[in-house]
């Protein structure tokens, strides 16, 4: 039976990209009838081009994932990936992913934050988030450079009754007017409104210092 047709055994399923902070990993699952010694080869293509390119390092592999970050790193392009499963003595079984755009599909990881308790305030310092995307001058773009409207939302839960909110595009914030020697729960998220992306929160539990004055 011709590969990939209805009656050829399904050696492969769920070929898709998993993308987080622009790290793009192609994953797939073996089919219900694929023997353990099935091997897989990965190719990729830019949407609009005709040539499929083989991904070095993912040819004849047995694992079910392949890192295509560098190959799919152009933010204005869209891509397809193709996995071909081969079982010894059998027909190759190709399957193509959905059209992938890292700008649309990537999820945002929680930010990297340092929470600094003081006597009557808590300072929060958000560190820039590098991505694998390389700029022309070779430096790695940060999320802030890629998404112009990226901003941070900071919430401080005050003894389970109300929340204090700060937010903006700068990286340093301070919640003021707090009670000394009291525990607070801080959550910090990255939001990208244009793409309606919202990271999971970074959470820090901090206690303000005692007031010795």
């Amino acid at each position: 039976a011709a590969p990939g047709t209805e009656d050829s055994p399904a050696l492969l399923q769920y070929v898709k990209f998993q993308s987080s902070n622009f790290e793009n990993i192609l994953t797939w699952e073996s089919g219900p009838e694929s023997p353990p010694d099935t091997t897989y080869s990965v190719e990729y293509k830019t949407y609009g081009e005709s040539v499929w390119l083989a991904k070095k390092g993912c040819q004849g592999i047995t694992r079910k994932s392949c890192n295509l970050t560098m190959e799919t790193g152009n933010l204005t392009e869209l891509y397809y990936a193709k996995v071909t499963a081969v079982r010894p003595g059998g027909q190759p079984f190709p399957k193509i992913s959905e059209r992938f755009s890292s700008l649309q599909h990537t999820t945002i990881k929680p930010p990297d934050v340092t929470c600094v308790p003081k006597v009557r305030s808590i300072q929060m310092i958000i560190h820039p988030t590098p991505t694998p995307i390389l700029a022309g001058d070779g430096h790695r773009f940060t999320l802030e450079e890629i998404f112009q409207d990226l901003f941070y939302r900071l919430e401080l839960r005050v003894n389970h009754t109300y929340q204090m909110h700060l937010g903006g595009q700068q990286r340093e914030y301070e919640f003021l007017g707090l009670t000394p020697e009291t525990e607070f729960l801080g959550t910090i998220m990255i939001l990208v409104p244009t793409w309606s992306k919202e990271s999971a929160p970074y959470v820090c539990r901090v206690k303000t210092l005692p007031d010795w004055t």
């Binding site: 293509k45 949407y47 204005t76 869209l78 959905e98 649309q104 409104p193 244009t194 793409w195 309606s196």
Partner: protein
């Protein structure tokens, strides 16, 4: 709101456009079997100036609403995505209606530059058979929204 150069458009949330297209995208894009052709190529949007953006947005939206959306509707009914289609079409219609690109003499060169970009898209569209062209163009609404997103202000 959208700021396509001097043209400002209020009352349309980009999030609603993405949500509406997102509800249709999987079924629509998988219909496009021609992976080696992209209608909204990079060159259509490369280095579009603010001044040009109003003309280009108007011309693309007009074509999409007059031709692509209208002539693709039989597929919309077949795939039972009328509700999301209606949300997308009516919101894009609001944007197109509010884009009033100026027509004075000093904007001739800008208009022509925008029109050349549109013709890049249109000529690629014309090279495919109608059904394939409509399917591909509708499937590339995400590329259009990605470009429009650059002119969106919160």
């Amino acid at each position: 709101e959208f700021h396509f150069g001097p043209c400002h458009v209020e009352g349309v949330a980009l999030l609603e456009l993405w949500k509406a297209f997102g509800a249709m995208k999987d079924i629509v894009v998988t219909q496009d079997k021609i992976m080696s052709v992209r209608l909204l190529k990079q060159e259509v949007f490369q280095n579009v100036s603010d001044a040009e953006s109003c003309y280009l947005a108007h011309e693309l939206l007009k074509f999409y609403l007059h031709t692509v959306f209208k002539d693709y509707y039989h597929k919309v009914v077949e795939f039972k995505i009328m509700k999301s289609f209606s949300t997308l079409a009516n919101n894009l219609f609001v944007i197109m209606s509010k884009l009033q690109p100026r027509q004075e003499n000093e904007t001739v060169s800008i208009r022509e530059s925008a029109h050349r970009r549109f013709l890049l898209f249109w000529s690629a569209f014309k090279q495919l058979n109608t059904e394939a062209a409509l399917t591909k163009a509708f499937g590339e609404v995400d590329i259009l929204l990605t470009w429009m997103g650059k002119f969106y202000r919160h």
